[in-house]
């Protein structure tokens, strides 16, 4: 019931995933924002892979949630920009909405592509792929450690929330913000201490900077089968959008 043991969880080489993602993002960014149809067509590519790899809707929704703050920031800075620039010509609302839509489509496509191409996201495997593509080990190491810390922070947050909740704490009043502030401070401190102990334990088991992965990098025909549609389809859409003026 525990599934297969020897097969890598993911038959694709992580480099193929990274190349697909990079290629897709480059093509989307290189598409002139003249019409909406190429962007909608692009969405079919990640949609296909999301369906094919059975990415869970929850994971997808979580990733898309990141877009909200991004777009809000853009709207905010845009507004500020116009308030400060009195002398510039009248911006048309239509123009602004179109710009925002393009940005939304581009970043939405990037998020979709991450969900579609990064598989179920084994960060160590991904880092291995990045190293395989020539990214220095020190950078991938930072990435992996940051991810570990992030997860640890979540775990500690859960523990702390339970501990506070078990003694009847529920943030309801304004006065509770003080308690919330203390809890946040305590969370950061605890996570740091925990992270240090975890790091100790890792060193104790021979950790020397790079996370070991079970499977060496190796190209296979799966990668070709994956990369062909992942690269050719967006390139074709891009070419079409340049041709159709």
């Amino acid at each position: 019931m525990d599934g297969d043991r020897r097969l890598p969880a993911d038959p694709l080489d992580p480099r193929a995933r990274l190349i697909a993602l990079l290629g897709f993002v480059v093509v989307v960014v290189a598409t002139p924002p003249r019409a909406a149809w190429p962007f909608l067509a692009y969405a079919l590519v990640p949609a296909f892979f999301i369906g094919y790899e059975r990415v869970s809707p929850r994971a997808l929704a979580r990733r898309l949630l990141f877009l909200g703050p991004l777009l809000l920031t853009v709207v905010g800075t845009r507004l500020l920009w116009f308030l400060l620039q009195h002398d510039s010509g009248q911006p048309t609302l239509q123009n602004e909405v179109w710009l925002l839509a393009v940005l939304g489509m581009r970043s939405g496509l990037a998020v979709l592509a991450v969900a579609a191409f990064m598989g179920h996201g084994d960060i160590n495997r991904l880092a291995q792929g990045l190293r395989g593509l020539g990214v220095p080990a020190i950078l991938t190491g930072v990435m992996e450690q940051a991810y570990r810390y992030w997860r640890l922070l979540w775990r500690e947050l859960g523990l702390l929330r339970d501990a506070a909740g078990a003694r009847g704490f529920r943030p309801r009043h304004l006065g509770d913000t003080v308690t919330l502030g203390r809890l946040t401070g305590s969370l950061l401190l605890r996570s740091l201490q925990r992270a240090e102990r975890v790091h100790h334990a890792m060193l104790g088991r021979g950790f020397a900077g790079t996370f070991p992965t079970s499977h060496p990098l190796r190209w296979s025909r799966y990668d070709a089968l994956f990369l062909l549609p992942a690269l050719i389809l967006p390139a074709a859409i891009c070419a079409a959008s340049h041709l159709v003026e």
Binding site: A208, S214, H215
Partner: protein, 251 residues
């Protein structure tokens, strides 16, 4: 005296250590452990037991000399040392961090640079030894406490250490878990250092006991003799648990 004495598994002389915030934790410790010995490191909370354990593979370095398995704990030796000293931490949540139990157990062997087949063999072996083979694909945070404890031990045993250091291994284990762990430890053929304040457990797992108090090693001898000395124990913040029958003192 016909045989040359073997290299001690642990050879500590005049070790003192202070934490960066100034807390003194170890004070002039001298301790020698021979290969194959099983030693209980006893002492109340805050005695410095964990601090001493962290010195054994160079995670902390104080003043004085620490040699483990013939290697001084200097930076050049740390790589080799950490492959041969297995340290099981007090809190399993400090130790388990990979996405699945199987990956966590494989972490140490992979760091040792073993071939994938050998890693796989060792992972399967350790998981089986600890009765965890069916949980291999579980994320560690979805294990019960007792399973987590066994998982940390599996991760260390997969490295086949020559010296095994367990920090409070019996804490929070149920009676069956305690007994199983003791039986398992009795089977291992490495040098064993068990850090604990659980006196019956020390008696069950170790022939020799060292008492640490206030960062000093205050007593050292056969576990039966140390545990029979109620005054010594009480003077050092330890006491017989309710209903405990002290072992007959030797001699």
């Amino acid at each position: 005296m016909t045989r040359a004495p073997a290299v001690p598994a642990v050879d500590i002389s005049h070790l003192s250590f202070r934490y960066p915030d100034g807390t003194p934790a170890l004070d002039d410790i001298c301790l020698t452990i021979q290969p194959g010995e099983s030693v209980a490191l006893l002492g109340p909370n805050g005695a410095g037991k964990t601090t001493l354990a962290l010195h054994l593979n160079g995670l902390l370095r104080g003043q004085g000399r620490v040699a483990v398995l013939g290697l001084q704990t200097v930076p050049a030796n740390l790589g080799a040392l950490r492959q041969r000293v297995g340290l099981v931490f007090q809190d399993p949540d400090d130790q388990l961090f990979m996405n699945t139990l199987g990956d966590d157990v494989a972490f140490g062997p992979r760091n040792m640079g073993l071939e994938p087949e050998e890693v796989e063999r060792r992972v399967a072996e350790s998981l089986e030894l600890l009765g965890l083979d069916r949980l291999r694909n579980r994320p560690p945070h979805r294990l019960s406490y007792g399973q987590k404890r066994r998982a940390t031990l599996a991760g260390v045993l997969a490295m086949k250490p020559d010296l095994l250091v367990l920090d409070e291994p019996s804490g929070n284990l149920d009676p069956v878990g305690r007994r199983r762990l003791a039986e398992l430890l009795a089977q291992l053929d490495c040098t064993l250092l068990v850090v604990t304040h659980d006196l019956p457990y020390a008696l069950q797992t170790c022939r020799r006991a060292v008492i640490l108090n206030g960062g000093r090693a205050v007593a050292d001898g056969p576990t039966t003799r140390i545990l029979a000395d109620r005054h010594l124990l009480e003077a050092n913040g330890l006491e017989w648990p309710f209903g405990f029958t002290p072992p007959a003192p030797p001699g």
